[in-house]
Symmetry: C2
Subunit: 420 residues, 2 copies
C-alpha cells in the first residue's frame, strides 16, 4: 500500500531512502549512457521519409526549381502549407530548413526595423510574455536581443489569460511566444476560450506580436488528437489580423535540420517580411520544397504520414507514463502531463528538487534536458520542472532511463524531507 511521503515518519522515510539508494546504485553500476534531453525523432522515424531522396525531377509546371527564383517558395509547397495551416497560399512564406530561424529573423526584423512605426532597438525597454514552462530556444532568441522576459503561468488549458490581459497594458510588452498545440514541454493544447482571448487582446503596444509557434500542429500521438482553433479565422473579428505570426516546419515530420519551414501571416506582415527577405536571399531551397511536395502530394498525405510517426511514438510515451504511474503515483511528490501529442512529457517534482534529480540522473548516466531550461534565463523559480523527451532513445533504453528517473525523483524527495 502506497503512502504519501509527507505522511511518513522519519524512520519510514530513512528506510525508503535506503531502499531507493540500493536501487540507484544498481543502475549506476550498469554504466549507462542514455539521452532524454532533446526532442529528437528516433532513426526509425527518420526512415519513414527516406523516399524523399528518390525524387529526380525538379520541375514544377515547366519551371526549373534547381535555379534561382521564387523568393517565397514554390507554388505547390505554399499550397501544401496553406492547407496544413488553414490559410490562403498568399499568406504563406516558405522558409529555410528550420522554423527557429524564421522566428529569430522575425524578432530580428522587429528589433532593427520594427513591426509598426518604431524599431524595437530604439526603445529603452522591450518585454515579452513567456508562458512557463516553455521552450528554451524561444527564450534564447529573446535573451540574444536583450528583450526582458516575463513569466506567465500555464493553466491546464493554456496560458493564464488573466495575467496576459493584465500584462499587455504595459506598452513595453511587445509580444508573446506561444506553442498553442501540444505545448513544449507540457503537451497542452490551448482551449478555444484561450485562443479567443488571445485573438481579442487589446495590448497597449500597437505593434504587439504573438509568435504562434505551431511546431506540433499535426503531431498527434493518440487518435483522435486535440483540436486547436484556427486563430487566423477569428483574428479579423477583433481587427487583430496583424497581431499573429504562425510558424511551423517539417522538422518532426520528415528530417530535423533538413526539412522545410513556413510562416503564415496577414497581408501587411507578409509584405514587411518579404521586404526583408528580398535583401536576405534569392530563394530558399526549392529542391527540398519540391521533394516534400512530391513525397506528400497534399495535406492528406502528410496526415497519413503522421500516423506512422504516432505508431512509433505511442509505445515510448506509454513506457514513460507507465513508470511515472507505477513509481510515483500516490506518493504526493510529483505530478506530470499525459499529452495526446507533441514531443514531451512535463514532470513537476517536489519543489526545490528538480536540479537534484537532474544531478542524480546525470551521475547515473542519464542526460535530461538541462533542469531550469524550460524557464526564461534558465531559472525555474520553484526548481521543480523536468522536461522528459521520450522520442529519441530506443524502447529498451527508454524503459531503463524512465525507471531510473523515477527512482531519482523519489530519492531527491526523501532527501529533502529528511533534511527538514
Amino acid at each position: 500500500m502506497k503512502k504519501l511521503y509527507q505522511d511518513m515518519t522519519a524512520q519510514e522515510l530513512a528506510c525508503e531512502k535506503a531502499e531507493l539508494e540500493k536501487r540507484y546504485q544498481e543502475f549506476k553500476a550498469k554504466d549507462l549512457k542514455l539521452d532524454m534531453s532533446r526532442g529528437k525523432p528516433g532513426s526509425d522515424q527518420l526512415d519513414l521519409s527516406s523516399a524523399l531522396n528518390d525524387v529526380k525531377d525538379y520541375t514544377e509546371n515547366g519551371v526549373d526549381l534547381r535555379n534561382y527564383g521564387m523568393l517565397d517558395g514554390t507554388p505547390a509547397c505554399k499550397k501544401l502549407f496553406a492547407q496544413l495551416m488553414g490559410v490562403e497560399p498568399k499568406n504563406v512564406i516558405i522558409g529555410p530548413n528550420a522554423s527557429l530561424t524564421l522566428m529569430f529573423d522575425y524578432i530580428s526584423q522587429c528589433f532593427t526595423h520594427g513591426a509598426g512605426d518604431t524599431p524595437w532597438r530604439s526603445l529603452d525597454k522591450v518585454k515579452f510574455l513567456c508562458p512557463v514552462p516553455g521552450y528554451d530556444r524561444h527564450f534564447t532568441i529573446l535573451e540574444y536581443f536583450g528583450i526582458e522576459m516575463i513569466n506567465i503561468d500555464m493553466n491546464a488549458d493554456g496560458p493564464d489569460m488573466d495575467a496576459v490581459e493584465e500584462a499587455v497594458k504595459d506598452p513595453c510588452v511587445k509580444g508573446m511566444f506561444c506553442v498553442p498545440k501540444y505545448s513544449n514541454p507540457q503537451g497542452i493544447t490551448y482551449s478555444d476560450g484561450v485562443v479567443r482571448r488571445i485573438a481579442a487582446l487589446k495590448p497597449a503596444a500597437k505593434d504587439f506580436r504573438v509568435m504562434w509557434d505551431n511546431a506540433y500542429m499535426i503531431h498527434d500521438v493518440v487518435y483522435p488528437g486535440d483540436e486547436l482553433l484556427n486563430i487566423f479565422d477569428i483574428l479579423p473579428q477583433y481587427g487583430n489580423e496583424d497581431m499573429v505570426i504562425e510558424f511551423c516546419s517539417t522538422s518532426k515530420i520528415t528530417f530535423p535540420g533538413a526539412g522545410v519551414s513556413a510562416l503564415a501571416a496577414s497581408d501587411n506582415n507578409i509584405a514587411a517580411i518579404k521586404k526583408r527577405l528580398n535583401a536576405q536571399t534569392i530563394s530558399y531551397d526549392k529542391m527540398n520544397q519540391h521533394r516534400h511536395v512530391e513525397f506528400f502530394g497534399d495535406a492528406n498525405g502528410v496526415m497519413a504520414h503522421m500516423k506512422k510517426h504516432a505508431a512509433i511514438l505511442k509505445p515510448k510515451f506509454d513506457i514513460v507514463l507507465g513508470h511515472l504511474k507505477n513509481e510515483l503515483e500516490g506518493l504526493g511528490i510529483a505530478s506530470w502531463t499525459d499529452p495526446r501529442g507533441g514531443y514531451f512529457i512535463s514532470l513537476d517534482v517536489t519543489e526545490g528538487c528538480a536540479k537534484r534529480v537532474g544531478e542524480l540522473c546525470r551521475e547515473a548516466g542519464v542526460v535530461l534536458t538541462t533542469v531550469g531550461a524550460t524557464f526564461p534565463y534558465g531559472k525555474d523559480p520553484k526548481d521543480r520542472n523536468i522536461r522528459i523527451a521520450p522520442t529519441y532513445p530506443p524502447v529498451s533504453e527508454l524503459d531503463t532511463a524512465a525507471e531510473l528517473l523515477c527512482i531519482c525523483v523519489r530519492l531527491a524527495a526523501a532527501e529533502k524531507l529528511l533534511a527538514k
Copy 2:
C-alpha cells in the same frame, strides 16, 4: 573601314543611325523574349550535378546526419570548404543554401551586436566602401540597414586603394564589400598588391570589416585562370586577422538556391558568429552538405567539376565577346572586359547612354540587368555601365541577344551625338 563616331560628320552619323534603326527594327519584328539579366547557370550546367540526388546514405562516421546537431556543419563539409578557401576547418562555418544570407546575417549581427565593442545601430552614422561597378545585392543589404554607401572606383587590378586608404581614416567607415576574384560585374581579380594593401589597412574604426565575397573563387572560364592571393595568409603580418570575413557557396558550382554556403573567419569572429548562430538555428541542412561531400569527394573533385562548367561557359563568353569586337571595336563608343572567369562581362557604353541602351533592348525583347544596378542606390553617376550575364540563355539565343545589344549601343551613341 571603321571610323570613330566622334570623327563622323552629322550626315555620316545620320546615315549610320538610319542603318542601325533598320537592323533594330528587323530584330524587333522577331518578337524576341531573351534574358541576359541575372547570373544564372544554364540548365545544362545544372545537369552536371544531377548525381547529387543519388545519395542514399546519410551517415558520417556513424553519425546520423538526418537528425539535429552539428551547428557549424558536418566535419567532412567543413574540411572540403577549408581546402577550397585555404584555411583551417576550425575557421569555417557551413551556412544555409546561399552565402547572401550569411552576408546579410553578418551585417545584421554587426548592426545589432557589433563587431567590436559597439553595436553599429547605436552610432549616428555607419558608412561602407563599395567598389564600383559592383554587385547589386550587396548594396541592397547595406541599404536595408541604412548604411551609407561610398563609391570606390575599380581599377584594372582591383579597387582604387589610394581612395580606400584615404576613406578608412573616417571612423564612420565600418567596412567594405569585395568580390576579389572575377569581380561582379567586371571579372577583375585583385592583384597581389591590392590584396596586400587591403590586408594592411589601418582603419580608424577598430571594428572595420571586409566582406570578402569570394563567390567566383574557382569559377575559371579560361585555363589557367587567375590566381588570387589568400588574404588569410597575410592578415597576421599586419595584426588584422579579425578584419576579413570570407564568404563562398556552391550556388554556381552545383545548384543555385539549393547549394551549400560557407564562411571563413578568425577564431574571434567564428566565436562571435557561433554565439548568434546558437540562437538562430540548431543546424543547417546537413543532408545537403553530405550530398555535396559525397558528390565531390575533395577539392580536386570540385576543380574537375568546374572544368565541365567552363566547357559550357567558354563558348557563351566567346559569342558575346565576338559580337562586341565585331560591332563596337574601333568606334570609340564602348569598352568592355574580357575576364578569365566569373559570370559576367562588364560593358561601358558612351556616357549618359546606358539607360537608353537598356530601354532599346527591352523594347526589342531582350532583358538586361537593370541599368544602374551595378552602383549603390541604383545610380550610375556616368550612366554608362551595363552588366552582361551570358550564362543563362542557350547559345543561339545569346547570339541574337548579343548582336541586338551591340546595335542598341551604337544606336544610343549615334542618337546622343546627333542631339548635341
